[in-house]
Amino acid sequence: MRPALALLTALALLLSGSPAAAVPATTFTLDNGMEVVVLEDHRAPVVVHMVWYRVGAADEPPGKSGVAHFLEHLLFKGTDDLGPGEFSRIVARNGGSDNAFTSWDYTAYFQRVAADRLELMMRMEADRMRDLRMSEEDVATERQVILEERGQRVDSQPNALFREQRGAAQFLNHPYGIPVIGWRHEMERLEREDAYAFYRRYYAPNNAILIVAGDVRPQEVRALAERYYGPLEPTPDLPPRIRPQEPPQLVERRLTFADPRIAQPYITRSYIAPERDSGDQRAAARLTLLAEVLGGDGATSMLGRKLLFEEKKAIFVSASYDGTAVDDTTFGLVMVPAAGVSLQEAEAALDRALAEFLEEGIEPEQFARIRMQLRAARIYGRDNIGTLAREYGAGLATGLTVADIEAWPDILQEVSAEEVLAAARELFDRDRAVTGWGMPAEEGGQ
């Protein structure tokens, strides 16, 4: 991507990841149900240690939005053995870095450290899986921090505010419509007990995946994992992950958001789309390729060629899809109109381009180039073991198996252009879509 476009691409949704399974994985399960994956890369004496919990914002109780992410923050506040902030301090003292992230479907904690410090990381991560301590005072201060985080990431960012509103319109019933960070009025009321109840239930070895990637041997990881994670008590009767599902979506939704802080008008369109399912990833593979065909590169993708090069109606277009999710997700399009092109005109051009695409089909040369790039992504992907570890973690935490993750690159290669086109025909139904117009306050869309 050209550097000047960094800001524009920030408008786009998350782009689909590169295919994993570039390095063979060793897997096993501890007696208490904890799943373990080891990815070896012996080029540098470094290891990435990650614990993924199969719980995220879409698993929160009603009215408690943000508690999954709040808990993620509180996990750094100490245990029966470690004081507040001590965890990260010890990691840093050992030259490592650590952090965590929360999505709708998972919460993950990771450290990157010299390979000979792996045991210490496991000891501490196992400690905080079951023995968290949080004082009322720490909880109150950290609540201010997450409110400031919301202020920084969402409330000060008109594009993020609009994304939140569009998400809420996209999902009529499923909690994917609620922001991961939480709605402010609910975040303000999150209490210690909310976080603690969530923790007790979901932070358990039978709900966790351990991923160790880097300069390690599987047998060494097994011995350490059995020693530190093995004795942890599982949560009995862990509930299945059944969230409220979407009813049939019958009516197109259109949102207009005007904000003086938006300098550049833009259009977004998102359609409800299937996710990757264990043993059944083909539909998601078709959509992954569709995103590449439509919006992969400005100069060669279908939308780029039509809207940027031929009609000159846009200065930026993208298509995005990430099928790594527990439930139905979205396929997104973004278009930034050229100067002097109204949003209405731009949207008409976008819909025309999609209709022409369904008529004309996919150029075989373009499809061959995309396959070549996916094949190369497996080679380049081996250079960054941390990214590979994340792909395994996200896949396993959303219900895929290691076999599914390893099969994914081959499935992508097998999908035909005809299948991609058929998937597009099924996808592009505006009754199941949200269209957004973002614009500066005074212009009124024209």
């Binding site: 550097p3 080029r43 001590e86 301090r89 030259g95 992504a377």
Partner: protein, 448 residues
């Protein structure tokens, strides 16, 4: 807790053991210097386990070499290199690159023009030929120029309503005035609108010259292969660029607070004053100080005071900015409008405290352990290794710096850091640029 029956003390004792007995892993990158048959120098980290090469090419100079009245020309020129070259128009070029699954990135920062390339071993020669086309024979076609210009203008307009970008722009303008550092390298709507094809060719000549060239490669390539590649790719470059380096910038910001009125619930502040050069003998102590004070690796003093103790912010950090023609020690914080004044007051207090008291012995040791442990972790892939190696050449570090760097960090004494703390942090020179509607700070002086 079951398996950790022992109290905290044992965990700490274990850490102490790690920290002292088992020294951090050494960075184990073997770096060769390669001189091509044509005389081009490069550093190489050979590693054949993955069949691709990462290549980093840099030219000292960058966007600071923009001609007066032509601000933004070099940024636009770099963005146009892959928009058509030789016989290929923009689309044909992109198709050729996709067929090879190579990736090229062209980017100008203030001080450096950088080209980052990645290509498979199976089609290395074709990839290098394509890269050469982009570097040596860019077309700067009129329609490509218009298309990319429109994208750059969109970015410039977006930055005009982004509080973080506004803070950066105002701070730079106040600090560096008319020097290129005083304005955005993207240019302004006016300057970019006026650029033409001749300006692109002029910008190309300002940047590219073998006298400013630095190269590093990492991955699946031998020294001999790299030598041939260097000649093929770079020997046809002009011997020297068309303009001399930019002048010194001259820091001119007076102490104080500048508030830029902007309607947003959370204010953003940039703060700092003149800093320290990368080749200053005190740079390593200064780097350690910054790590303790506001770095991102350890829990810093500022993070502890503002975030952990008071919940005033999600993020506060400081950094050293040793640029080619000017240097800063600065930081950034975001706080709710109602609490920004408190954040500013605490930062002032801590700035004065570190200047007056320096670090404690424990803080210094903790920072050393962190920095020496973290250093080898940087070398964990072909792409990052190539970037590090080219960066080292540009700041004049020898190849054995990788082996000796941790010893240099360990050699810093408490006396060193505290002497440098007094030199580096000057609370009476501190300037804050705050964008927002902060309570309890001076009324807005500046329009965004």
């Amino acid at each position: 807790m079951m398996q950790i029956a022992a109290p905290i003390v044992r965990v700490l004792a274990l850490c102490a053991l790690f920290a002292s007995a088992a020294l951090p892993a050494r960075a184990q990158v073997a770096v060769q210097e390669v001189v091509s048959p044509g005389g081009i120098r490069a550093w190489l980290a050979e590693e054949h386990s993955i069949p691709f090469t990462a290549l980093e090419i840099r030219f000292r100079g960058g966007a600071a070499l923009d001609a007066p009245e032509r601000r933004g020309a070099i940024n636009l020129m770099m963005a146009l290199l892959e928009e058509g070259a030789g016989p290929l128009d923009a689309r044909a070029f992109a198709e050729a690159r996709e067929e090879l699954a190579a990736s090229f990135a062209f980017e100008a920062s203030d001080d450096v023009a950088r080209i980052s390339a990645r290509f498979l071993s199976e089609n290395r020669d074709e990839s290098v030929a394509l890269l050469k086309l982009a570097m040596m024979e860019p077309r700067f076609d009129r329609d490509a120029l218009e298309r990319v210009r429109a994208q750059v203008l969109a970015v410039i307009r977006s930055e005009e309503t982004d509080p973080g970008a506004i803070a950066g722009r105002v701070f730079d303008r106040l600090a560096w005035g008319e020097h290129p550092y005083g304005s955005s390298r993207n240019g302004t709507v006016e300057s970019v609108s006026a650029l033409g094809q001749a300006d692109m060719r002029d910008a190309w000549a300002r940047v590219f010259g073998r006298d400013r060239l630095y190269v590093a490669a990492a991955g699946d390539i031998t020294a001999e292969e790299l030598g041939l590649l260097l000649d093929e790719l770079l020997l046809d470059l002009p011997e020297s660029a068309s303009v001399p380096p930019a002048p010194e910038a001259g820091y001119r910001l007076e102490p104080g607070v500048t508030v830029v009125g902007f309607d947003t619930p959370q204010a953003v502040a940039l703060f700092g004053h003149e800093g320290i050069a990368r080749d200053d003998p005190d740079y390593i102590p200064a780097y350690i100080l910054n790590e303790v004070f506001g770095g991102r690796g350890l829990q810093s003093r500022l993070t502890r005071e503002l975030r952990e103790r008071r919940g005033l912010t999600y993020g506060v950090s400081t950094f050293l900015l040793p640029m080619e023609y000017g240097r800063l020690v600065m930081g950034q914080v975001r706080s709710d409008n109602s609490r920004m004044a408190e954040s500013v007051a605490l930062i002032r207090r801590e700035w004065a405290r570190i200047a007056g008291e320096g670090l404690t012995g424990a803080e210094l040791e903790e920072a050393k352990t962190y920095l020496t442990g973290a250093y080898p972790l940087r070398f964990d892939g072909n792409a990052p290794i190539a970037r590090i190696l080219v960066g080292m050449q540009m700041i004049g570090l020898p190849r054995d710096y990788i082996r000796n760097r941790n010893d240099m960090v360990r050699a810093v004494t408490l006396e060193d850091v505290n002497r440098v703390a007094r030199r580096l942090y000057q609370p009476d020179k501190l300037h804050f640029v705050v964008v927002g509607r902060p309570d309890g700070l001076p009324q807005p002086e500046q329009k965004p």
